[in-house]
């Protein structure tokens, strides 16, 4: 196990280096560059901009800039936002909790509901329930999320007035109930897509497990259908789902770009879009590395969980 972890860890480092080099290069080749926004400011002369570039170290060769950035990153200095000068880690920290709240809720909801729909769809294959679930999943997957968001706001906020249209809390209130009230609509809208994906995968995995010979063996042993489902089918069907869950993990922390924008949710997705808009490269780079680390971690955790659950990998 330790050899496996060491192996995966070294692979992850290589991966992160490659991702950061690509990200750094691409960002610097974007039109304008980090100082373009000052070009529009009539109070700034070309000389001022050159001085600023000198100050921020932007006039050095790209590879040197990268090495400098990477070296600081390793030391825990992720740089400072161009916008307000606060450290990148602090900026990420400010938005992380909001995203965690939204994505965590919607993902938990999606996995619970999706698993149930998937299993029921497989055990009642070609039933009315299965057909409805299939059609709903197709609709949820093919209609863009922002449309669901807008429709949700139109119906539940404008027409019915049940929930607020956006933001995470009412300024001046901030009680738990107020947070939950704001959370309902965006998390439901977000979970729609995830329920669709998760239930489809779960249905296939369950059908696959149901057709295995050991299910027939269990029937031949006289085991009840309920126990067959719980003990033999679901356990084996969830194995491939662990990988999917691992891939889901990064998005819990990196947020949803579109949904957070529609509901003006102050999360990581909004931060990314805003920082891009302001050419706030240190923050964008920070977010890029942050999500790359999460992707690597998510896969690593999935692998470890599978190794724990599946004796063939744990002991093999």
């Amino acid at each position: 196990m330790s050899a496996f972890l060491l192996n995966r860890f070294s692979q992850s480092i290589v991966l992160l280096v490659i991702v950061s080099i690509i990200g750094f290069t691409v960002l610097n080749f974007m039109p304008g560059g980090p100082l373009a926004q000052f070009g529009l400011d009539p109070g700034m002369t070309q000389k001022d901009i050159a001085r600023l570039a000198e100050q921020l170290g932007l006039n050095r060769p790209l590879w040197l800039q990268y090495l400098d950035w990477a070296w600081r990153l390793i030391q825990g200095d992720w740089g400072h936002s161009f916008r307000d000068g606060s450290s990148v880690l602090a900026v990420i920290g400010r938005h992380l909790l909001a995203t965690l709240l939204l994505m965590g809720t919607s993902t938990a909801l999606a996995i619970a509901v999706g698993t149930w729909i998937g299993i029921r769809g497989a055990t009642h294959r070609y039933s009315l329930f299965d057909y409805c679930a299939t059609i709903c999943a197709m609709v949820a997957l093919s209609v863009p999320t922002f449309w669901f968001g807008l429709i949700g706001i139109y119906i539940f906020t404008l027409k019915l007035g049940w929930v607020p249209a956006g933001n995470m809390y009412t300024i001046g209130d901030g009680s738990v109930m107020d947070y939950l009230h704001h959370l309902i609509l965006p998390s439901l809208v977000l979970s729609l897509v995830h329920v669709a994906i998760w239930s489809r995968y779960m249905r296939t995995a369950t059908l696959d497990a149901l057709s295995q010979d050991f299910v027939k063996t269990a029937r031949a042993k006289g085991v009840s259908e309920r126990r067959i489902l719980l003990k033999h089918v679901v356990g084996n069907a969830l194995l491939p789902m662990i990988t999917l869950a691992g891939m889901q993990l990064p998005s819990i922390l990196t947020g949803a770009l579109v949904t957070e924008t529609v509901f003006t949710w102050p999360g990581m997705g909004r931060l990314f879009l805003d920082s891009l808009g302001y050419s706030d490269y240190p923050v964008v780079m920070g977010l890029l590395i942050f999500s790359a680390i999460l992707v690597v971690l998510g896969n690593l955790i999935a692998d470890i969980v599978i190794a724990i659950v599946d004796p063939r990998i744990r002991l093999g």
């Binding site: 050899a3 192996n7 003990k231």
Partner: protein
Amino acid sequence: MSQPPMKEWQVERQIVDLSKERGNAKSRGLGPQPHDLTSLKGDFPMASDVQAAAPADVALSVRDLSVSLPEGMERAYAVEDISFDLKRGQILCIIGESGSGKSVTANAIMGLLPKAIRVSSGAIQLNGTNIVGLSLDKLRSLRGRVVSMIFQDPLSALNPLMTVGAQIEEVMAAHDVGTPKSRRSRAIDLLIEVGLPEPQLMYHQYPFRLSGGQRQRVMIAMALALEPAILIADEPTTALDVTTQAQILQLIRDIQRRKGMSVMFITHDFGVVAEIADYVVVMEKGHCVEQGSAEQVLKSPSHLYTRRLIAAVPHLTGKDRIALRPADRTSILKVECLAKTYRSGSSLFGRQRIVAAVNGVTFDLASGRTLGVVGESGSGKSSLGRLLIKLLDCDSGSILFEGRDIAALSEAEFRPLRPKIQMIFQDPFASLNPRSTVGQILTVGPVAHGMSCGEAAERARELLSHVGLDSGAFDRYPHEFSGGQRQRIGIARALMFKPKLLIADEAVSALDVSIQAQILKLLDQIQRETGVSMIFITHDLRVASQICDEIAVMHRGHIVEHGPPSQIFLDPKSTYTRELVAAIPGEQPANAPQHAANP
């Protein structure tokens, strides 16, 4: 086959009531048993009436059973109007080729038919109770307790995530028998009973750690847990090596005798029937064409189909093949000290597994002759085949093909030689691209090697008729053909290049015996016509004895014995070969049986 102890059993069987046997199980510490057989009888008011119809010595009686298939299938019934009796303490073999309905019959008895396939008429009487139309709950209470079943592939039949012990205990738990503690000790007793080593350790083992034979033993332990009256075995040894098969057959017979169980044994192999059966039912396309005692069916089969089937069973001939051209002894392939070692796992991190798949193999194949490479799974025979056709690179040694060492050649240098060495694969379903027509499959290779399209198409049509297919096959797709026909296409494909050497890797193993015999005949005929040399890789000694001039027996990467069939089968020199020959079901090599009555 006569079985003297059987009669004693039958007598004992009539005295010892089944419910009494359950009492024995109790005294072994199984605790209270809410469902025992006496209460089962009470569940069904009809029981006493039916009892009169079925004699007391019949454990299972199938009467006029028809199982219908969903509309649009090949035929309307999976099985139609079949009747047979399984007597107490006997082994009944149901034999038939694929699609004969033998497995459907077994599943109908277990109540395990898929929803789309239903029993449409007839009766299945289990201990005198008709189970057709019984509620799911009542059927469930019979399964595993009164009748249990073991399957063909013991790996997929065991849950990979549960320990062996937990899976055995589950049978008892499912029927509320015993306490967790008594179940555990019973499970360990069962592991001892089926002859597994270190039962305490085995109890905590996961299935993937076990060998194929051990897994099947676990399946048998599971099936025996509640001492069922009837055991249904659906091709339980088909996926196993021949020596393992012999052990499992022995185990099933021992247990059956010890416990006086009734066994319904499904197989496609007449050798297995000769080994184990008391009574035989022969099935063809859903019909029961013949039944009778094993001796009667094997020695004097009355139905034409049975005779054909028995005649098709390959036997150890013990006679050497008459050489094609005795004078011609030019060597086409000379292999010296060939070696290939597999390494798995990272060498940087953790331990590395090293398996010497092929180790110092040396042989010489004369032009126009056939060398059989025989061995069990893991012996390295398939690796050897891949090395010879350079699908794998060898670690050391030389392969002299027509005097030229091809082992040292690079892929580019070897490419012009590829047409001369062709391969016939095992699985005729997986080895043909389903999206290409037969014509495309046949011509794509030669065209890539520079033959013109017209010429290739002409040769393809010629070869198709040569291998026994009509030339209309050219424009059709592989799925339109049966397994045997597909293998013919595979052979035609290999012959397109006019090869000097054919490597057939288990080329007939996936086929029914009657088809197998036809394909072997075709290969023999092709060799006589074209003078092609052949390396015939197989796990089946009987098949090898049909077609090979010489046989090399492989064991753990080495050739342990090499010689003409007469030597290998009648006078084996190595212990391993002797074991292999002795394990062949239904054969006594010293006096090769002659019960294959020619129609």
